[in-house]
Symmetry: C2
Subunit: 330 residues, 2 copies
């Protein structure tokens, strides 16, 4: 077995309490005995047992993280920022990837409960009253990112609606008159949490309305490529395709390339997220950039404040700035 506090206590002929005081430099111990204990501890290659400590203190120094899928570069960036920041302040993270499955999310929360995590950062799949009750029952501080749940939980992100509104206005300012909006997940309305996507769609509508343009054509088919190919994109007035995520825009772009449809000459294209991959792709996609890593870091910082109970309860929506990235696709 590993060497424990008790072992050290025996060797140093002091009590476990004294060893504890030395190891965690708590007051009430003479410099001499402290140094001696530390020396012996080092010699024995002592390492504390975090399970025992967590049990005794009621704090596991662990954060749960719920995300959709790290293979999505956006989530990878978030995951990286969260892990690095958390570790910087002595925490370690348990990530669980739900892959958009509510069942996975439920199990993840249960895992976190039994594992005694001190807090949770969650990009949630679910929403609704029942879900909120579940979350409350956990009695664990939760910070939400991306998909908002309700005013009951802190939300860190961007102003989704405004950012898409700005994006659409930018598209219009480039001379486009009609917008085709692609968002397949919307077919799961009522089934999963679509806060982010609904907000973006609303922003698109608002932007168009404010610019005096007609409603967007919204495509929610999972096979949106097929849906697009049935539209006469070159008919007047000038059309642009707007996607609330770069990954859809890239699929569309691939389709266009394959069919020799030139962007932006024949049709405009706008993405969202400004994922790092874009730098390798031409034409450079217009997109919306926002500080993903900062969202992760902010979420961790806020979660810690909530764990320690010293947070501002009235300020629980933390929004960061977005920015339109002009490219060659409009």
């Amino acid at each position: 077995m590993s060497v424990t506090i008790k072992d050290i206590a025996q060797i140093c002929k002091v009590s476990e309490g004294t060893v504890d005081r030395a190891l965690n430099d708590r007051p009430g111990i003479s410099k001499k005995t402290k140094e001696y204990i530390l020396k012996v501890a080092k010699e024995l290659n002592y390492t504390p047992n975090h399970l025992a400590r967590g049990l005794a203190k009621g704090r596991s120094m662990t954060l749960g993280v719920i995300l959709f899928d790290v293979r999505n570069p956006y989530f990878a960036k978030l995951m990286n920022a969260i892990e690095v920041k958390a570790r910087e302040i002595g925490y370690v993270v348990f990530p669980i990837f739900t892959h958009h499955d509510p069942q996975n999310e439920r199990k993840a929360l249960e895992h976190f409960k039994t594992r005694q995590v001190d807090g949770i950062i969650m990009f949630s799949v679910q929403s609704g009253h029942e879900f909120e009750k579940e979350l409350l029952d956990l009695k664990i501080p939760i910070v939400t990112i991306g998909n908002r749940i309700s005013g009951g939980w802190t939300y860190v992100g961007i102003n989704e609606r405004e950012s898409m509104k700005d994006a659409v206005k930018h598209v219009i300012s480039q001379g486009y008159e009609e917008i085709i909006y692609i968002c397949p997940p919307l077919t799961r309305r009522g089934e999963v949490n679509l806060y982010t996507l609904e907000e973006r769609l609303a922003g698109c509508r608002e932007g168009l309305s404010e610019m005096g343009k007609k409603e967007p054509l919204v495509i929610m088919d999972s096979d949106y490529i097929k849906a697009i190919s049935q539209i006469d994109l070159e008919s007047q007035p000038k059309k642009a395709i707007v996607c609330p995520a770069d990954i859809y825009a890239l699929e569309v772009l691939n389709h266009f390339k394959k069919n020799k449809i030139r962007v932006p000459e024949q049709v405009g294209l706008m993405g969202f997220d400004d994922i790092d991959t874009l730098k390798y792709i031409s034409p450079r996609l217009c997109s919306v950039r926002y500080p993903v890593s900062e969202i992760g870091i902010t979420a961790v910082n806020r979660l810690l404040e909530e764990i320690d109970g010293n947070h501002n309860k009235h300020l629980n929506v933390l929004l960061l700035q977005h920015q339109i990235v002009t490219g060659e696709s409009l």
Copy 2:
């Protein structure tokens, strides 16, 4: 506080031991009391405390995972596979991203030790005797992936040397006579674990030698783009650039696009890893594909066998198949 076994015991008027028997369906309990206890437990919304259980059983049901950086799509895929597989069998993972920093790796191992992880999957930054001694001192089963350490630890991956040899032979078979090999991390020789990259380079050399071609020109500058731009790529004989990672090849491709150097007409290009991103990029990069997710899954499975002590000690190198992906860049 949360409801505990003790609470249930009091309410059911039985001992804690009996409750434990019911909850973990251990033998030696009557059907009746068991059902009663389970009913009460459900009513009270009891959730076990994993810290306490881990402490008592000496098993945390947790795996440590050490990777370079999830923002690299290759690691993201690996991370995803590991997390999903681990959870499937009741484990949860602690990932730590080293960003190629030995210091981070050292701290990660310490974290894992104090956190009592049952096993570790590691893509290591370090190597050497001293490091091996450190690993042995941990007394925790470790499975290595990517960068091999030594015969002392299980290695899951591909035959790095053969795969690059095959890649190079493919390049030559396409009519190229000279190879420019790009591998910036090699400048850190002696400082970090470069097993994978050294093997690939050796494979490149072997392949060329077997095909009767001359040695490759190896570029290790961190600013390899500048180095390339100083080479006359179009001089005879026909040249191809080979990269042991797609991410370098993409940077090179970007440079070529910017400078109107056509691939493959003016120069050939070959990558490695076949990252998902490639599907969006033209020309389609030739690359080497291997089952990344399977590597993760295999590593988890093997690690579990090692934890349970029922593994084949004589078979500790697990190699999966690679495959050349032909594209438009040669």
